[in-house]
Subunit: 298 residues, 2 copies
């Protein structure tokens, strides 16, 4: 496993027998990152054999209950499992107040530190392997969509490096990271051995939103995971509730040039999603309706 | 359906793929009463086709997260479904503080009133059809077991009533309720037409506890639903954690003269409960390990 998206909960505000409240795990090499944490997320993690102890970063997109009420129970279970690693929890303005309420309802001292971080538009969490950016979306509460993107890496021209006298091993990594090295008194610069940029994988999670330009702008070549609470005939209800229809989600994917679209936040009124999918596919062929426990490799 | 016990969650503090956190629905004629409300209870209710809108009384046995963290989400979903009926929530000392925390984390105004009621040992909720009494049990937090019992009714001697000139209909009900009536100027008293007490059904829910005398005293002829977090070989761990083993639960059922025993609060370490059940049955034959979604008619 290098990169997996695990759909833990794909329901709208009221869950169903087959769909739990919002949560997505991004597994990237040894890291597991959680996007939203609706009620029942700890059990969805256990059922999908996704280790909750490996989660060091949780992003809450907004403070409607179906997106964060799984936090108290998940934190308690981490604590019962004697976690000591700090946990960073990101959320829009008000994160300290929300985490105060979460910790208050836990009624117990946790075994680990929680680090609150406020989400604003722009880069939120940047590592040398990937970055997570937030984009403001259009929902009744202040809500951020999340863009997970691999750091762009240039292709390593192995044969040229060897021809310049560089030995495979740590020096390869240094050059690939952008550091100069010296071989037999001769300076080798990264530009000498790096070619064009490799294609990088990108996942965009809209959370709850109306169709919006920020998501269109972020979706080029991405796996787009988009709010699709209603079917196409319920456009007015979707606008009223600041959600999207399946057709609107597909239009965003098409206009943004997404690679693939997953529909989520499915209202419990749809016991079958056949029609929802069919109408979205007329606009954007590479559409799927996400299922709880579905694993996708971008 | 006149009387059903629906096991909604039968796990210990950490849930498993097959067992959710603590919750039991008591369906009695048109009423649905909830004993505990662990995380995920709203979804367990939906999956078991038990109407959350019909719940007017919720009893929280103690304030460990696995017994009440389903409250915020359940209240929000009731509110999303436009509930207006008030909801009474019972809990031990501190219920106001707990409900403040629950309402604070909801971050929204609910569409209905919540009536907090403090549980003390003794009668908690008494109607003309059934009563619920609380008994203090032995756990690390202040915890009450709950005894649901039908109101004792005397047998109605129909043929004697008719021979005294009473016509079948409302007069039968009045006499059965204990009211005198007059037929052709002649007074008929309940004692004239009522025989011995009918056998009444009783369900005892221990919640989390060590084996304790109060439960033994309450269990005569009851369906006993008893903490069984550990197997018989883990007696010391059970004592340390103030829980019970399957054998201890069976001993309580035997000593109390229970009619039937259900083991609950099963640790996720037991992916199979065959051994747990086998050893309990050596002490008390009428034992079952409760499963999520199991329905029992007392």
């Amino acid at each position: 496993m290098n990169f997996e998206v695990v759909f833990l909960g794909t329901s709208a505000a009221v869950p169903s027998a087959t769909r739990a409240h919002a949560a997505i795990a991004i597994k990237y090499f040894n890291e597991i990152i959680l996007f939203d944490c609706g009620e029942g997320t700890q059990r969805q993690l256990i059922s999908s054999k996704t280790s909750y102890m490996k989660i060091n970063h949780i992003f809450i997109t907004h403070y409607h209950g179906d997106h964060f009420l799984g936090l108290p129970g998940l934190l308690q279970t981490m604590s019962l499992s004697d976690r000591t690693e700090p946990l960073t929890i990101y959320g829009p303005r008000g994160i300290n107040d929300v985490l105060d309420a979460v910790i208050r309802i836990c009624r117990t001292e946790l075994s680990f530190e929680i680090i609150p971080r406020e989400i604003k538009a722009g880069p939120v969490h940047v590592t040398d392997k990937f970055r997570i950016d937030a984009v403001k979306v259009d929902h009744s509460a202040l809500t951020y969509g999340l863009v997970f993107e691999e750091v762009k890496k240039r292709e390593f021209l192995r044969e040229i490096a060897i021809s310049l006298g560089v030995k495979p091993g740590p020096d390869f990594s240094r050059l690939h990271r952008g550091e100069e090295i010296t071989v037999d008194g001769k300076t080798i610069r990264p530009d000498n051995v790096l070619g064009g940029e490799k294609k990088c994988k990108k996942v965009v999670y809209t959370s709850d939103t109306r169709p919006c330009q920020n998501i269109i702008d972020a979706s080029k070549d991405a796996v787009l995971i988009h709010d699709s609470t209603y079917d196409g005939s319920m456009k007015d209800q979707a606008a009223e509730a600041t959600h999207s229809t399946s057709i609107e989600a597909a239009e965003v994917a098409a206009r943004g040039g997404a690679k693939k679209l997953f529909l989520i936040h499915i209202s419990p009124r749809y016991s079958s999603t056949v029609e929802l999918l069919k109408e979205a596919k007329t606009v954007f062929a590479a559409t799927s309706v996400a299922r709880d426990f579905q694993v996708y490799k971008p």
